[in-house]
Symmetry: C2
DNA sequence: TCTTGTTTTGTTATAGTATAACGGAACATT
DNA sequence: AATGTTCCGTTATACTATAACAAAACAAGA
């Protein structure tokens, strides 16, 4: 669910994507002996519920509503944890966060971000990443982390126009 | 000067890079009937003088020293102008700005950012960009702007360690 | 079960990044 | 000189993120 193959198809059952992501997160944390606390779980769920990358301050009210403390550090801590475990990614161009559909793989994909509807989709970019890594290496540079973000227009918005 | 071929070589005469960049900027603005005002020129020079990407608030004091107004909008306006003309790039992961060595080309390159010394170098990435564009296109996504940022360790810092 | 060390959360304050809005100055052209 | 446009000064504020420390929850051994 919500894999690259689905991409911008809006008509899939997203609640299934969310459920699967939450299950994966739970088992991943269990396997790593880490605690997916109620706050972390809720933050992950909120991020997944949105197809648009979510800003930290957009998450806060929902935390408050759920009865949790809702000062910025609360949500940033949860997001830090989730990022470290590869469960969410931060999109630097947007200062926003989005769920990762394949938290097991170490590699970050490439984000396709629609300027019109703000939807973001993570696409595979292993080939491009390898290419960049090689070129960097040719300059003597050792790659540790790559961030590829693409702004443009998604198929749905193109159709609309 | 300061082209991709120089990359991380620290021993080149950077004042030459700066001079050439300023010349190019002047002629580019002239050709486009745009005004490279004293503030804009100074901001561009300050950005170029640093091999590390420069934050907007690091530029402000220098503006003040030069006798200009130095409230944030001043520097952001200058940076916006310079970005629009392709004279500087913003590195999203760092919230910082760096001079572009080839403002004529429309395409943005790929930034190699050293975690240790904070130096950033713009490398060509046309091949990778084309690849990503194709993959996006296969998903029905039309690419308008790409941002490729790479964190890692530069050759100089590797040697040091 | 109690203790003890560790991890997580609550809380307050503050740092850092960026823009809105409006009036006035400088400029280019007629 | 008049006028429309671009640029700048100024104040205020929005948005994003972290520091620092105390309290609570938890985990694991004695």
């Amino acid at each position: 669910m919500c894999a690259d193959t689905i991409a911008f198809e809006t008509h899939h059952d997203h609640s299934q994507c969310i459920e699967q992501a939450m299950d994966e997160a739970r088992s991943l944390c269990k396997a790593r002996s880490l605690r997916l606390t109620p706050i972390r779980e809720l933050v992950l769920k909120l991020v997944w519920q949105s197809h648009k990358p979510l800003g930290a301050y957009e998450i806060l009210p929902a935390l408050a509503e759920a009865g949790f403390n809702s000062a910025p550090p609360t949500v940033y801590r949860a997001l830090d944890f989730l990022q470290e475990q590869g469960l969410v990614h931060r999109i630097a161009m947007l200062n926003a966060f989005i769920g990762c559909p394949h938290p097991d793989d170490a590699h970050h994909g490439c984000f396709l971000i629609c300027r019109h509807c703000n939807t973001a989709v993570e696409a595979d970019s292993s080939a491009a990443e390898a290419l960049i890594r090689e070129q960097a290496s040719a300059l003597g540079f050792t790659t540790e982390q790559q961030s590829i973000e693409v702004l443009g227009c998604c198929p749905n918005c193109q159709e609309r126009a």
